[in-house]
Symmetry: C2
């Protein structure tokens, strides 16, 4: 019934022009203090709600930063996302989130959709994209940050770490503790590049240390989690004992493997070492604690915020490449 209250209505109510109302509701300089107070009071009384859409349209600044994540249901990405939300919230920016379900085609579709909202920056997780995605992004003046990876051919700015290096930490550690027969537990080869890169990192590191060929244990299509790790090990049965160590693509998978291994009466780390990835909470709380790699998820978020602020303030003009590194976290499973 009652049409929406606009600035025009507020202006009429206080007997001033919409322009003054507009200024009173944000600009703090030119408007007289008493006027501003009165305007705000009246706006409140009328139940006026500011229209960000109109503002975004007129100023051509949406106030959005678009972010793609492989999955929200992942404590690590959630941590990064939280840091982004908090940091950008302070700057008056709002996050537009899309999740790719670990598929680059889905990412492309998502980027297409997000771009129509005219975001002020685009933050992508990972460094692998379809050609079409790259085309969509390039040429536009839009600031782009790829995070959680260190791509060889970046689209713009980069804040991440090397999955290969991180896996090398793990393998090095296993070698030092006398393990030689490794098996990698991860998702099937397919759309998810993240897992593939980690797998490749393990293989490369194993070769460097002159270990026998790394076995591959397929836990099913991405995303894989606790239950997939547990299921694939249960299926294998005690055969799993022929390996020295299970190198898992993530901590949840490692925990699943750990649980299954323990259930069948094998001891960790005596009979078998298990390592994870990501320093999830479960790694520190499980029993025994899982050896893993900390990839500084929250720090990535904070650094991305810093880069974005630098871009918006005009302090950053050249593409930035920040390696937040990764650090071995020795647990009790290796």
């Amino acid at each position: 019934m009652s049409a929406r209250v606009t600035m025009r209505d507020v202006a009429q109510a206080v007997g001033m022009s919409p322009m003054t109302v507009s200024r009173a509701l944000r600009d703090d300089r030119t408007v007289n203090a008493k006027t501003r107070a009165r305007v705000r009071q009246v706006a409140d009384d009328l139940g006026y709600v500011y229209d960000s859409t109109a503002q975004a349209f007129r100023t051509q600044k949406s106030g959005f930063v678009a972010v793609t994540l492989p999955s929200v249901n992942n404590a690590n990405f959630a941590e990064t996302f939280r840091a982004l939300t908090n940091g950008l919230g302070e700057a008056g920016l709002q996050l537009l989130l899309g999740s790719t379900n670990y598929r680059v085609e889905r990412e492309e579709q998502l980027v297409r959709q997000l771009l129509t909202r005219n975001p002020e920056a685009l933050v992508l997780t990972g460094g692998h994209h379809t050609l079409e995605t790259r085309k969509l992004i390039q040429g536009r003046g839009l600031p782009v940050i790829e995070m959680w990876d260190l791509p060889a051919d970046p689209l713009g700015h980069v804040v991440g770490f090397s999955n290969g290096d991180a896996m090398a930490h793990i393998v090095g550690h296993l070698v030092r503790t006398g393990r030689r027969k490794l098996a990698f537990v991860g998702a099937s080869e397919g759309a998810d590049m993240r897992g593939a890169v980690r797998r490749a990192g393990v293989v490369r590191a194993a070769r460097m240390h002159r270990l026998p060929e790394v076995a591959m244990i397929d836990a099913g299509p991405a995303p894989v989690s606790m239950r997939h790790g547990a299921a694939v090990i249960e299926e294998m049965g005690r055969d799993v004992a022929k390996y020295d160590a299970l190198v898992c693509v993530s901590d949840p998978v490692a925990f699943g493997c750990l649980s299954a291994v323990q259930r069948m009466g094998l001891r960790v780390p005596e009979d078998l070492a298990i390592t994870g990835f990501g320093n999830f909470e479960v790694a520190k709380v499980s029993n025994p604690r899982i050896t893993t790699v900390n990839v500084h998820a929250e720090d990535i978020g904070r650094q991305v915020v810093a880069v974005l602020k630098g871009i918006f303030d005009g302090e950053i003009n050249e593409p930035v490449r920040i390696d937040v590194g990764s650090a071995l976290v020795e647990g009790e499973t290796s």
Copy 2:
């Protein structure tokens, strides 16, 4: 440098009016098939990107559904969120996500911000809000859904379950298996109402069964997770054995407790039962499996989508109240 490409530019390039271009890019009826094909081709060639902001402004339909969650870093909420994203994505709607960090004041601020984006519906997690939040929402024609709860005085539609009932399932089960001395492990009393409601549910159920007073074990300010559960039990030491059962506010907390209890050499469930809440993945994979309550997180998301579709299609006019229920999941910790 090169200004943004608009429909006008595309129109000029194909030698037609912007109106035709507009129609060609969506409406499939009135535009000639060949014209449409040509328009789309040219739009593509020019790198035209549709401007949803302008559309939202002109049509007064933002294409957004605003959602608040206590935390993204929670597998349960993430599950609901995923279901919402998928379901609403099909309907061409995009989610605008905000997280409240378990605080109603933060929720108020968030709602205020989200409303300026003119969302087509508002989905809130939980049934407790500040008075100001209620005022902000009411009077506007905006469809509102509260989920994950069954509030006594709802703002609009409701899709949820009773935390009290769910806890009663747990307590009933513990009583049946012979436990009497219960302790509740959860966050400190404070801003988070969710935890408080669960605690109250345990207390009420215990009274009904004429059990001794339920002890309260404070795991610190919300949100509490694995490490808080583990820490508080470690701190207590073997004193914890004076209870029959630890009733935890969530599965992650229960897993933390379980791990700490096992570390100090106590056996679960022989010496002590432990129960969780939410049917998280960890409950099914841990060793022993944790007894918990399934609250159908994904189903909640799907039902919310169904309600929203019903509202948008004009099929739902009265406030809806859907109880998705909750179900005991017997594990091995009780």
